[in-house]
Amino acid sequence: MQATDEAPCAIIEEDALRVQAYGLLARLLAEPPSAEFITRVAALEGDASAFGLALNELAAAARDASAEALAEEYHALFIGLAGGELTPYGSYYLTGFLFEKPLAELRADLARLGIVRQEQRTKDPEDHIAMLCEAMAGLIAGAFGEGPAALAEQRAFFDRHLGSWARQFFADLEAAEAARFYRPVGKIGRHFMEIERQAFAMAA
């Protein structure tokens, strides 16, 4: 894949693909997609695997989507007047409340790993699903520290901050009433979390 030729850091192809998958989820979940982004998503093509088929579903959904409609859908799902249909934060999934101990633990790990929130872009707590996906992408690619994080470090971060709840969140997204475009996003995320879990288990 061309991207790895461009990037001389020690990252193998499979890990580059993981960076891309996490990056895709992060962009889809961080904010409502722009028209330009929707056009790019519409061009995606997966293979016959469960992950690939979900990607094809997403591309098809993007072809029928407009930025206005997706902004409404995003709002209904994640923000809403009295809270969106879903609450995409680890602390909420794990304890039923925001800003609980899981967030404190995450903040300690982020500080240790040299990852900070972009204060000018977001005031969300760091356990937002998009930020966690971005953190994983950066750890794998080596955006934060002295090169790519060791697999054991990636796995520890995943187990502590994503593995315990993200799969459930993506399943909820897939089943959410307001979800149209975001239904295949949930499916992609659910499959990818399962792939990650199994792959980490193989390396143990």
Partner: protein, 66 residues
């Protein structure tokens, strides 16, 4: 990190077969996984151990932007 490269081939094969290849390569080609970041690397003065130039970050962006 060295052990990063020494992971089992079983794991690599699994990731290839899981469909990330076709799918995520398409993501790369479409240039859509570019880090539209809400998190970033801590500034060096904020890091207890950090001294590195931003070379890794540039590499990450080169990789992720493709």
């Amino acid at each position: 990190m060295k052990d990063h490269r020494l992971k089992s081939s079983k794991r690599r094969d699994f990731l290839k077969l899981a469909g990330l290849g076709a799918g995520a390569a398409g993501v790369a080609a479409a240039g859509i996984a570019r880090a539209e970041v809400k998190v970033e690397r801590a500034k060096d003065e904020d890091r207890s151990l950090g001294y590195r130039e931003s070379e890794q970050v540039k590499k990450y962006y080169a990789l992720a932007r493709f």
